[in-house]
């Protein structure tokens, strides 16, 4: 065919740095370096300022046993304790949560083929709120370990339960289409919110209401070493699994019918992905409450940079999501002296304008036309 009459009207979308294999590897290494640098900065800044060099030496010593300079003297000070027992686990948790939210957001957007999807779309947010509200206001009483786990368990159970109900509801009466999933999510959201409000209204417990409100705004303040392994293991497995699914995720974006003609029966995969993201999101919500915007905006941001191919999109948005949350958590800690802001406020304050910029900017259309 010799009838290409016009050159492309818009600028070429070639992204050499991210499409060539080595360029992409380089980008990943740079992101790793940025992540390490961000962790370093985040553990040094706070109410007590610790020089970057000192915190680096403490970390290296704690992690590998290598002594750089006068370690015993450093360990004597309060810095070592703050860094190792308070800030480092918190920063690591932020990295994991950010990466997880951004991973789940990317998967959800592909699974329901909707650019508005985020990790909380399948009723997870209100389900978790309902569970947490129940735990805070009524409690699990004396049911052994449940009273220990309390809010975290309530949030996980609520999130997971809501997601399961959405999937069952969307699957009733035939095929589980993405429209049915989104609508079922809205219905379950409304119901869970109603129940949660009902509990709050009847309980008439001012202290409890405050706790619930803070919970829904998210916080990493409760991060401790013993909370990390569960989140780390769940995240590690999820990242590993989904990185291997990139090809299937790509065909998912082609739509159900086209995917079948490319040899992939989507409905089974969609079910599996939704189930897994529900578990991961449940664990994330249980450990830090609700942190909005990250799972919605990071995948879009990265799509604008590296394109929709999940082989590049997934690893990049996992890194950026983690790094983003490390910095927002830092802001939440230091923005107002002696006050710890809920991190959800910061993510929305940064995420909102960023989203506006993307809406205004040309060249990225959120999947629309």
């Amino acid at each position: 065919m010799t009838d290409i009459q016009a050159q492309p009207l818009r600028p070429s979308y070639e992204r050499a740095l991210v499409t060539s294999r080595y360029g992409f590897l380089l980008v990943q290494l740079v992101l790793l370096a940025i992540a390490i640098f961000s962790i370093g900065v985040a553990i040094s800044i706070g109410q007590v300022h610790i020089p970057l060099g000192d915190s680096f030496r403490i970390l290296v010593y704690k992690l590998s046993g290598i002594e750089i300079g006068d370690i015993p003297a450093l360990l004597q000070g309060q810095g070592a304790n703050i860094i190792w027992n308070i800030r480092f686990p918190r920063v690591l948790l932020a990295l994991l949560i950010g990466a997880g939210l951004s991973l789940c957001g990317t998967i959800m957007q592909a699974a329901v083929q909707n650019p508005l999807a985020d990790p909380y779309i399948l009723g997870v947010s209100s389900g978790a709120t309902l569970g947490a509200t129940f735990a805070i206001m009524i409690g699990f009483g004396s049911i052994g370990f449940l009273s220990q786990m309390g809010v975290a368990f309530g949030a996980f159970a609520g999130a997971f339960g809501a997601a399961m109900m959405v999937m069952v509801l969307a699957g009733l009466g035939g095929k589980m289409s993405s429209v049915k999933l989104v609508l079922s999510g809205m219905v379950i959201n409304a119901l869970c919110t109603a129940f949660a409000n009902f509990i709050i209204y009847l309980a008439n417990n001012t202290e409890g209401i405050r706790t619930v409100t803070f919970w829904t705004m998210g916080s990493l303040a409760a991060a401790k070493w013993d909370k990390l392994p569960l989140v780390a293991i769940v995240m590690g497995l999820a990242v590993l699994f989904f990185l291997l699914q990139s090809r299937i995720l790509n065909t998912m974006l082609m739509g159900d019918e086209a995917a079948v003609t490319l040899g992939i029966n989507l409905s089974a995969y969609r079910r599996l992905y939704l189930l897994l993201t529900a578990i991961v999101t449940g664990v994330l919500v249980a450990s830090c409450g609700m942190i909005g915007f990250v799972g919605l905006i990071i995948p879009h941001l990265i799509r604008g940079l590296v394109g929709s191919d999940h082989r590049r999109l997934l690893p990049t948005s996992i890194w950026i999501g983690g790094i983003f949350l490390v910095w927002t958590d830092l802001l939440a800690r230091v923005l107002i002296p002696k006050v710890e802001l809920p991190i959800g406020i910061i993510t929305a304050l940064i995420g909102g304008p960023l989203f506006m910029y993307m809406l205004i900017k040309k060249g990225y259309s959120f999947g629309g036309k």
Binding site: I4, P8, R10, Y13, Q113, I248, L262, G263, S308, G367
Partner: protein
């Protein structure tokens, strides 16, 4: 590859859409499905390419039982250009065409030099070389359709199913798409809506009415004044086009 469809019946939501249709596409033949909107053409095609489960019947592509094979096995043999190709997320043209390699890939396989060669060749065949790094969603309808065709070509299919591939296209692109398809020299089953185009390109036609085969044969046998009046409910005259010797259809008025 020979396609054999035997006694295929499909019902959707309780209504019978396709009623015991049998058809055959012989080695390297271009076979057209014609019929008014809602006659069951698309449903028939969808059950051949496994999007809809038929109630009964058999579909064989040479030795392969399509209804009993996995989608992956089928997609290695058969390419499909469907009607709905809207995306919720954007890809470049090259990325879209590269998806056509999916059937031949294991989960962890990377795209290799051979894949890139096949993809570039497919893009060249549809004449979109200059567009390969363009965003798919920024393309016009005709260009999009050519990308989807290129994706099907990248599957290196031995059989092609087309569901109204020239819908919404300018005459030029209608001809272009059908020319490309015919030049592949593989078996093709295509639902078409333009009778003159069908007459020009198809070796054999099936005329479908209300889920049943109303007529079959070579274009000149099938496309008669009486049949078109019966199936499409329009009056027309059939004539030989003086310049090309092809089959001309002049529509008069609806019944």
């Amino acid at each position: 590859m020979e396609l054999n469809v035997r006694d295929l019946s499909v019902s959707l939501g309780g209504a019978s859409i396709v009623n015991k249709i049998s058809l055959q596409v012989q080695e390297k033949k271009f076979v057209g499905l014609l019929g008014p909107n809602g006659c069951g053409k698309s449903t028939l095609l969808k059950s051949i390419y496994k999007v809809i489960k038929p109630d009964e019947g058999q579909v064989h592509l040479s030795g392969t039982d399509l209804l009993k094979s996995s989608p992956k096995a089928v997609s290695q043999l058969m390419g499909v250009v469907g009607q709905f190709n809207d995306l919720s997320f954007d890809f470049t043209v090259r990325e879209m065409v590269m998806m056509g390699r999916t059937p031949h890939k294991k989960l962890l396989d990377a795209d290799n030099a051979a894949d890139f060669r096949i993809v570039d060749e497919a893009i060249r065949k549809v004449g979109l070389e200059a567009y390969s790094s363009r965003s798919y969603l920024s393309l016009s309808g005709g260009e999009k359709q050519r990308v989807i065709l290129a994706r099907a070509l990248a599957q290196q299919p031995q059989f092609l199913v087309l569901d109204e591939p020239t819908n919404h296209l300018d005459v030029k692109y209608q001809l272009q798409i059908l020319n490309i398809v015919r030049s592949l020299n593989i078996g093709v089953l295509a639902a078409l809506h333009d009778l003159s185009l069908a007459a020009k390109y198809c070796d054999y036609l099936y005329l479908i009415k209300k889920g049943k085969v109303a007529a079959r044969g070579e274009p000149k046998e099938v496309l008669t004044r009486e049949r078109i009046a019966d199936v499409f409910e329009v009056e027309c005259e059939i004539y030989d086009i003086p310049v090309t010797g092809g089959l001309g259809i002049a529509y008069l008025a609806s019944k």
